[in-house]
């Protein structure tokens, strides 16, 4: 029964019938995902945000907004205490339940998919409409759609995103990082994995032999595992061919994706010229 309910909630999408209608223009918004917080600030609606998660740290101005805890498994009471007229959640089954709970308290809530670049285009338009900034939303949406519409350049390097070393986890074709790499001229050697990320053997990384390892990190130092002997079987690790990607630009799908693509393109060109 519960599963059925959840399924019907998911089928209805953002706003099931039992939740209160969103206001024509929200003025007190609690944003429960780093990517929606960034979007709201990009739309110029930053001063309408009255709550954020602990992990929403970009743009720096977001740090001035009160912290209401986690975005997955959110603290309903802390959110309600901010007296929001709109709550924006990351779309997941658990957060659909949270949105229904908020609805029972009379707080309108929307859940937005925020996993891929096309999600950001959709979310920008949706949040633009909800905050009374349709023009800004459409403009970001159009920029993202234009980026996605650009034909991908011919690959200049074969890359692998290694996000964890033990067990080795890589980014697959389902992630926005794979999209960014493709647009920048990097062929993700794990593009065929449909998932956003997956555990693989080091052996598989050796066999697919990427030219460069891409690492999400704010420090430019090579990752700690690069001195471990089993990792030195990977040619790119042995040759120290790492590109570190700062979290602000690459840590989530974001309206700054064009800048991320350009930065990655420059890094790939620099590394292949070396």
């Amino acid at each position: 029964m519960r599963g059925l309910l959840l399924a019907s909630v998911l089928a209805l999408g953002c706003r099931p019938a039992d939740r209160p209608a969103t206001p024509p223009s929200a003025h007190r918004i609690v944003s429960l995902a780093p990517s929606s917080t960034e979007l709201l600030f990009a739309l110029g609606a930053g001063d309408q945000v009255v709550g954020r998660t602990t992990w929403c740290r970009y743009p720096p101005a977001a740090l001035q907004v009160p912290d209401v805890g986690d975005g997955l498994n959110p603290n309903i009471e802390a959110i309600a205490a901010r007296q929001p007229d709109l709550v924006v959640l990351y779309r997941s089954p658990l957060n659909e339940t949270a949105a229904t709970q908020l609805g029972r308290l009379g707080i309108p809530a929307v859940t937005l998919a925020q996993d891929r670049l096309e999600d950001i285009a959709r979310a920008a338009r949706e949040l633009g409409r909800l905050t009374g900034r349709e023009a800004a939303g459409d403009s970001i949406g159009a920029v993202m759609e234009a980026l996605l519409g650009t034909p991908a350049p011919a690959p200049i390097a074969r890359v692998a995103f290694v996000v964890w070393d033990n067990p080795p986890m890589v980014i697959g074709g389902g992630s926005y990082l794979d999209q960014l790499a493709t647009l920048a001229g990097g062929a993700n050697v794990f593009h065929d994995l449909g998932a956003a990320s997956a555990t693989v053997s080091i052996e598989t990384i050796v066999a697919r032999n990427p030219d460069l390892i891409l690492v999400l990190s704010d420090s430019t130092a090579p990752p700690a595992y690069s001195t471990r002997r089993e990792w030195r079987a990977v040619r790119a690790v042995r040759e120290g061919r790492f590109i570190t990607l700062p979290a602000d630009l690459f840590g989530r799908p974001s309206p700054t994706a064009p800048a991320a693509v350009a930065a990655l393109r420059r890094a790939l060109e620099g590394a292949t010229r070396r």
Partner: protein, 316 residues
């Protein structure tokens, strides 16, 4: 004798398939010259053998020590301690290529010391029942602290730490093999030397004392040696379940209750099971990989059920 030949053959087949099979295609003729085989598959196979063997022996010894068929190497709080150590290392951003295994090893040793101390609460004697309860309590307590840290800290890294804890041999290299090969012979020899007194202990502490076993030092030696084996296993490969629980029972069904035969058989059997499980983990969903602990359960439990049925059939 034929049982030993059979077991030896099983280990040989497990080793050969672990080296010959993998997610990357290596032609049979190139096995000897392949870099993948030399620096990844062979050390990983040897590590699986050493870790599986250690868990098998640790499980068999602990089951005899606490006289409880449900005992396994991780029941005595070591996995909780190792997990806490690993998660602390990540949360505090301790850097370095060996930070995680060392922190897990330290955590496991901490849990071992705490459980041992609690096991002595009744006085100078190590009470196996108290030891079990202390193990469960320390495990639950460190698990609670671990979960608290994980729920308060940045999500992604620590979720990965949990993945590491669920067990896997992807950290295998000639370095880890060398460390294990130097380290485990000492506890293994201590346990093997205790084989005969362990047989007596199975009769109960009092009869064992009457039959000449020096029960108190024996219990301490066995507890510490088995825990040291488990701590090393968890440091290099996380918590790999079922090997230490099921392998001793299977070997007992075939070799009987004499520890002089049981312990070596449990070492080889544990090694073979983990070798097969890890090969399956690497190959079945390639290019992705399964956590090996899932495979040991999927392979070990049905095998155990079949043997249990046959054994029950023989008895009735």
């Amino acid at each position: 004798m034929s049982r030993w030949i059979g077991l030896g053959a099983l280990v040989a087949v497990a080793l050969v398939s672990a080296v010959a099979l993998g997610p990357a295609h290596v032609a049979l003729g190139d096995l000897a010259s392949s870099e993948i085989v030399r620096s990844l598959r062979v050390p990983r196979a040897l590590l699986a053998l050493l870790v599986g063997g250690s868990l098998g022996v640790a499980g068999a010894s602990l089951q005899a020590l606490v006289r409880n068929p449900l005992a396994d190497p991780f029941l005595l709080g070591l996995s909780g301690g190792a997990g806490l150590g690993a998660v602390l290392a990540i949360a505090l951003h301790v850097a370095g290529p060996w930070a995680l295994p060392l922190a897990a090893f330290a955590g496991a040793l901490g849990a071992m010391a705490l459980v041992y101390r609690l096991g002595l609460v009744g006085g100078a004697q190590l009470d196996p029942r108290v030891l079990l309860l202390a193990g469960v309590a320390v495990g639950a307590f460190s698990g609670a602290i671990t979960t608290a840290i994980v729920s308060l800290a940045e999500a992604a890294d620590l979720r990965n730490a949990f993945l590491w804890l669920w067990g896997g041999l992807s950290g295998a290299s000639w370095d880890t093999v060398l460390v294990m090969a130097v380290y485990i012979p000492v506890p293994l020899v201590v346990l093997y030397a205790a084989a005969r007194p362990l047989d007596l202990l199975a009769l109960g502490e009092e009869p064992a004392t009457h039959l000449g076993a020096d029960v108190e030092p024996l219990k301490r030696r066995v507890y510490i040696a088995a825990s040291l084996l488990t701590a090393a296993a968890v440091a290099v490969s996380g918590v790999i379940g079922f090997v230490g629980l099921i392998v001793p029972h299977i070997t007992r069904l075939v070799w009987g209750h004499r520890h002089r035969a049981l312990l070596p058989a449990a070492f080889l059997g544990g090694g073979a099971l983990l070798l097969f499980a890890d090969t399956a983990a690497r190959v079945v969903v390639a290019p992705r990989e399964l956590p090996v602990g899932i495979v040991t359960a999927l392979v070990g439990v049905p095998l155990f059920a079949v043997l249990l049925r046959r054994w029950a059939g023989v008895r009735s």
